[in-house]
């Protein structure tokens, strides 16, 4: 039991030590605490994975966390197949990125802080995946958000970084708003928050309804949609995707770890985790699928025209997360998790590669100012190629297997799924295009930066490149645990492994169909690469021409559909203005304070007015007395 507790605890200890003593004592030796801790965690995770592989499912309650009346939640861990996979992904990638960061963050003023936050993040993420109940999940969920906030705003003196951090947090809160209510509703419906209990009794509450504003809604659907709210926020799906691109203000390892490989996939994990609930609600599933499918395409279109290297990858992440949700939405939970897993590797690789480039160019992120880096940084170049092939879905690479599985499952689910498959296939084309646009702009052609930068160009140190190579291996080979049966019987190891938790996807299709779908996806991927090749290697003036030709479209995409501006105009600014002018300026200051200060002022005015009655004249006083008597006599004797 201690072993399992130590998995998250080790990084936490590292965090505490680093944050307390980092500033004055540890300083730039911070990695000596964080890296071993997270590596140890990885080893323990492997051991736990082995336990699960051996058929064990660990469900332990450590202590009673909140007890209030019938409300009772424990701090407890559940390590089943799903968790085990997540543990592997999180700890392995964390370890690699920690090591990479030693080089990347070298010399930064907040070096210790960086490792502290990262350690805290790993802790939080592990809590998130290991939780055995929804509230603890929520705990981890919020905690990773916090770390994300810290790390996006790591260079807090930059306004843009501080803004981005805040934005990430607040946008996520919108999602958590739903998630939190979902958790509450789960408890109210099931009387427990523990996964096991909830899922066991999921069937019994099917068909129950709740009354909202006088309308009856299916309870499970409401729960699922509320939970999905959280997922939308955390995993940056439409319409809460806006924070993720901005999150690129953080250091690149952060983007790789948090905003690509792990945290943003928490939503996917959570939905997959809740599959017994989602399975009971077709409409919730459809919502998930549609949001995923649309986001996949939507984000991909934006990625087409972005110039910031990290933003391209960020939108690509949003898009890939869309794929995962699409998979979940069509009931292919395994496919979703599978893609999560492969995506973690190739996307982390892409980010770290980009980081390597940025590092070499001294924080230049604009691809228009890069070019021809191939010869300066070969390792980076080649890992980039591998990752891009993987994300594009070229057969043999990790991304191919998982993505193809998703497309196939979407296609299979028919109806709406067919349509979404169409979108996703389109997105696949775009994915291949922008991935290779990125490579061509960055590594091919002539260097477009300054002399100064060119002079300093160099390959990154081994401490950075070695993790890249490890990840590259993952980006290529990670998919081989999920080879579809059409190629090899019983090679879908991951599917079988996860089946106890996630079940088997429904639907069977013919081999021919499957091959056709696969063919289409391979074709569009290749087409995408080809178009990118033509536009950025062959006819380099074409992008400009196209941009001019489809000016409105280009601007729409370049400005990300003006979603940020829309939010600013409709939510942020009105809230600020209303609170300043109406709530505070008018209601609080004028009405309430008007009354509060007005009544005493009125009494004061009365006081001054009545003072005048006291004229100081004897006869006035006598008159008052007699008048008083007259009134009393008149009223009580004559009127009564």
């Amino acid at each position: 039991m201690v072993k399992y507790i130590l998995i998250p605890l080790l990084p936490f200890i590292a965090f505490v030590i680093t944050i307390l003593f980092g500033r004055n004592h540890i300083k730039d030796k911070a990695h000596w605490i964080a890296v071993p801790a997270v590596f140890a965690s990885f080893i323990l995770a492997v051991s736990a994975f082995m336990d699960v592989l051996g058929g064990k499912v660990i469900n332990i309650n450590i202590y009673s966390w909140i007890v209030s009346g019938d409300f009772n939640v424990s701090m407890g861990f559940l390590i089943d197949q799903l968790t085990a996979v997540m543990l592997m992904v999180v700890t392995s990638i964390s370890t690699l990125i920690f090591i990479y960061s030693i080089g990347y963050m070298h010399g930064d003023g907040g070096y210790y802080r960086f490792f502290a936050y990262l350690s805290l993040f790993v802790f939080s993420m592990l809590i998130l995946v290991m939780a055995n109940n929804y509230l603890l999940l929520y705990f981890g969920w919020e905690a990773v958000g916090l770390c994300s906030y810290f790390l996006i705003g790591f260079w807090f003196h930059k306004k843009s970084a501080a803004d981005a951090g805040k934005k990430a947090f607040i946008v996520n809160r919108f999602g958590d708003f739903g998630f939190g209510l979902g958790v509450i509703l789960i408890f109210l419906t099931f009387g427990s928050l523990e996964y096991v209990k909830v899922f066991d009794s999921a069937g019994t509450v099917a068909g129950q309804t709740i009354n909202i504003l006088g309308y009856q809604f299916d309870t499970i659907t409401v729960i699922c949609l509320l939970l999905f709210c959280g997922a939308v926020g955390k995993s940056a799906q439409l319409p809460l995707h806006v924070w993720l691109p901005d999150a690129m203000e953080g250091p690149t390892p952060v983007s790789a770890l948090i905003h690509a490989a792990t945290m943003v996939t928490a939503g996917v994990f959570m939905v997959a985790r809740s599959n017994p609930l989602f399975n009971l609600s077709a409409s919730a599933m459809a919502t998930v699928a549609v949001v995923g499918g649309v986001t996949a395409l939507f984000a991909a279109t934006i990625a087409l025209v972005q110039n910031d290297i990290k933003r391209v990858i960020a939108y690509s992440t949003v898009s890939q997360l869309g794929y995962m949700f699409l998979a979940l939405g069509v009931g292919a939970y395994t496919a979703g998790i599978f893609h999560l897993y492969t995506h973690a590797y190739f996307k982390a690789l892409l980010f770290l590669g980009a980081g390597s480039v940025i590092h070499a160019l001294h924080d230049e992120q604009n691809m228009q100012k890069m070019g021809g880096l191939k010869k300066y940084m070969p390792i980076t170049y080649w890992v980039f190629i591998l990752a891009s092939l993987s994300i594009s879905g070229i057969p043999g690479f990790a991304g191919f297997f998982s993505k193809d599985e998703i497309l196939w499952r979407a296609y299979l689910s028919g109806g709406l799924g067919r349509f979404l498959w169409f979108l996703a296939a389109g997105a696949a084309l775009l994915t291949a295009f922008y991935s290779f646009r990125l490579i061509y702009l960055t590594f091919h052609g002539k260097f477009r930066g300054t002399r100064e930068q060119e002079h300093h160009l160099h390959e990154s140190p081994p401490v950075m490149t070695v993790p890249l190579m490890f990840l590259a291996v993952g980006a290529v080979a990670a998919g081989w645990v999920g080879i579809p049966p059409i190629f090899m019987e019983h090679a879908d190891k991951i599917g079988e492994f996860l089946a106890p938790v996630l079940g088997h996807p429904a639907g069977e299709g013919s081999h021919a169909e499957e091959l056709a779908v696969m063919g289409i996806s391979i074709t569009v991927a290749l087409a995408g690469i080809l178009i990118a090749y033509i536009m950025y290697i062959r006819k380099t003036d074409l992008p400009g021409k196209l941009g001019a030709m489809f000016q409105p479209v280009y601007r729409l995409l370049y400005n990300k559909y003006w979603v940020d501006e829309l939010y600013s105009k409709t939510i942020v600014q009105p809230t600020l203005k209303a609170s300043d002018r109406i709530i505070l300026g008018f209601f609080d200051a004028k009405i309430i304070e008007g009354i509060v200060n007005g009544v005493p002022a009125l009494i004061g005015a009365f006081s001054r007015r009545f003072r005048a009655i006291q004229t100081g004249l004897l006869s006035t006083y006598g008159l008052a007395m007699v008048l008083g008597a007259v009134f009393i006599i008149g009223f009580w004797i004559f009127l009564k």
């Binding site: 944050i19 966390w65 909140i66 807090f156 501080a162 805040k166 958590d176 709740i210 504003l213 309430i592």
Partner: protein, 517 residues
């Protein structure tokens, strides 16, 4: 007696706790040297804390009965007794008060340089008053402490406060007085209906005519709502909190405004169950309005302290929401949230005081980049910020979650509205944090070269904050340590609220409100 457990310790522990600060205040009268006064004051507050500790260890969590009870005849001709005791609802506030008092003395060590003796006397009398309110089991005694506290607080704000202190002090005094005198009338009415007794337990066990209950509820509500403060009678709070000296703000935010909610728990609910159920919906709606309104106002604040003050309105909205949801989670969450708010907002005011000593400004725009200038300070403050916005692992989460849970349980839409408070809370607090600590530093405060170089927390200040930080995480990770004290009492309270023959038959307003939701 039926509902009490007499003090089994061989000394009157509660009396000592309450009156030790008062004795200390009297002793201070005869002291001259500033340092001696400070140390004495610190010693007295610390001693009070130590004396109160056996309460925790000897407290029987299994019963709702009043414990450590002392009862002596006091004003026999009115049937009024000196009757004190604590139960699961009040015990935690005792500790909140004793701890915050120590911190108030500590934080004023250098901040208060004028009329030092009077200041510490005021602090100590305040402490005695606050403790008295929480232990009093006789309504008269309660009222005595309740009102008596106004005097030292009035002076604390008015004498040692900021620019606009006189206005704030008088506003505070009169505002709260309006409410409490109406309660006084209510108390007297209750006295006669309750058979000429002001024994809180006796009064709680009686049944009153429903119409009377309504009127009494309104009278009590006037006092408690102002104190909480609930929307729309909250406007004394920003002024008082802002203008008060640090110690005053801490006491105000930490303990004083809890008394309103405590009043609901101790008086309105058990004594007037029908009225409580009747007025539940209006109060809940006011609470929701307070949550959202308070949060929105925070967005527009330009003054550091004022923002935190308004955030109290929002947070106390959560408290009343939880309390009036009238279910276990809500009540326990509400009580816990009071504690949390006391700790977190108390600590925030402490920290604002600390930074004010360095910068002499409270205008948010004058700050910026302080995370670099005073990293430890920034570190402590982020913890408070996170606790304030209810991040899991901090105490704020537990309280807010339980409250939203209870509200949702009571009425779905209430929970939804309450949850928006969490979004807004994150919004204004993070905005504040960014404006103060991130972005470019104000060159004035740069460590070398600025006009007013700021320095990081010193040992005394860290020592002041550590206990509160410990509590933040303690409650965050193991709230049961605190919740377990409440269970029995809260359970009993719920039974009391739900008792009585009068059932159903709600007013048109209540019906109407039900319809809307």
């Amino acid at each position: 007696m039926e509902n009490i457990i007499l003090n089994s310790l061989d000394y009157p522990i509660l009396s000592w706790t309450v009156f030790l600060p008062l004795i200390g205040a009297v002793v201070l009268l005869f002291l001259k040297r500033a340092d001696v006064i400070r140390w004495t004051s610190l010693g007295v507050t610390a001693a009070t804390f130590v004396i109160s500790l056996p309460l925790l260890s000897n407290f029987d969590k299994g019963t709702y009965k009043m414990q450590f009870v002392e009862r002596y005849e006091w004003i026999p001709s009115w049937g009024i007794n000196y009757f004190i005791g604590i139960d699961g609802i009040s015990i935690l506030f005792i500790f909140l008060t004793t701890i915050l008092s120590i911190l108030c003395v500590l934080v004023s060590w250098r901040a208060v340089e004028t009329k030092i003796k009077e200041f510490h006397i005021a602090i100590l009398t305040m402490e005695a008053g606050m403790l008295g309110v929480f232990v009093a089991l006789d309504f008269f005694l309660f009222y005595l402490f309740w009102e008596a506290m106004l005097i030292p607080m009035f002076l604390l704000i008015g004498v040692w406060g900021g620019q606009n202190r006189v206005y704030a002090a008088i506003k505070f005094f009169l505002y709260t007085l309006v409410g409490s005198v109406l309660m006084l009338v209510g108390i007297v009415v209750l006295y006669f209906y309750g058979g000429r007794t002001l024994d809180i337990l006796a009064l709680s066990s009686m049944q009153y005519p429903v119409t009377l209950q309504y009127w009494l509820f309104i009278a009590f509500f006037a006092a408690f709502a102002v104190k909480v403060p609930m929307f729309p009678v909250h406007t004394w709070l920003p002024d008082a909190h802002t203008e008060a000296p640090t110690a005053g703000s801490v006491i105000l935010a930490g303990v004083l405004i809890k008394m309103g909610a405590y009043g609901f728990l101790r008086f309105s609910m058990p004594m007037l169950p029908d009225a409580t159920r009747f007025f539940m919906w209006p109060v809940l709606i006011l609470s929701i309005v307070a949550i959202i309104y308070g949060a929105l106002v925070c967005f527009a604040q330009k003054d550091f302290k004022r923002l935190i003050a308004y955030s109290s309105v929002s947070h106390m909205g959560f408290v009343t929401l939880g309390i009036f949801a009238l279910n276990t989670q809500g009540l326990e969450g509400g009580i816990l949230q009071m504690l949390n708010h006391g700790i977190v907002t108390g600590a925030m005011f402490l920290m604002i005081g600390m930074i004010y000593e360095r910068t002499h400004t409270r205008v948010i725009a004058d700050y910026g980049g302080f995370a670099r200038l005073v990293p430890w300070y920034a570190g402590f403050f982020i913890i408070l910020t996170l606790a304030s916005i209810g991040l899991p692992s901090t105490n704020g989460f537990i309280g807010e979650f339980l409250i939203i849970f209870s509200a949702f349980k009571a009425k779905k839409l209430l929970g939804v509205f309450a949850a928006t408070g969490i979004i807004l809370g994150a919004g204004y607090m993070l905005r504040l944090y960014q404006n103060i600590f991130f972005e470019k530093a104000n060159p004035d405060y740069e460590t070398p070269g600025g006009h007013h170089p700021v320095w990081d927390l010193n040992a005394r200040e860290v020592l002041t904050l550590i206990p509160l930080i410990v509590f933040i995480f303690w409650i965050g990770f193991y709230p049961n340590a605190f919740l377990s004290y409440m269970h029995a009492s809260v359970q009993h309270l719920i039974e009391q609220v739900n008792q009585t023959a009068y059932a159903g038959q709600e007013s048109l307003i209540a019906e109407y409100i039900r319809e809307i939701f």
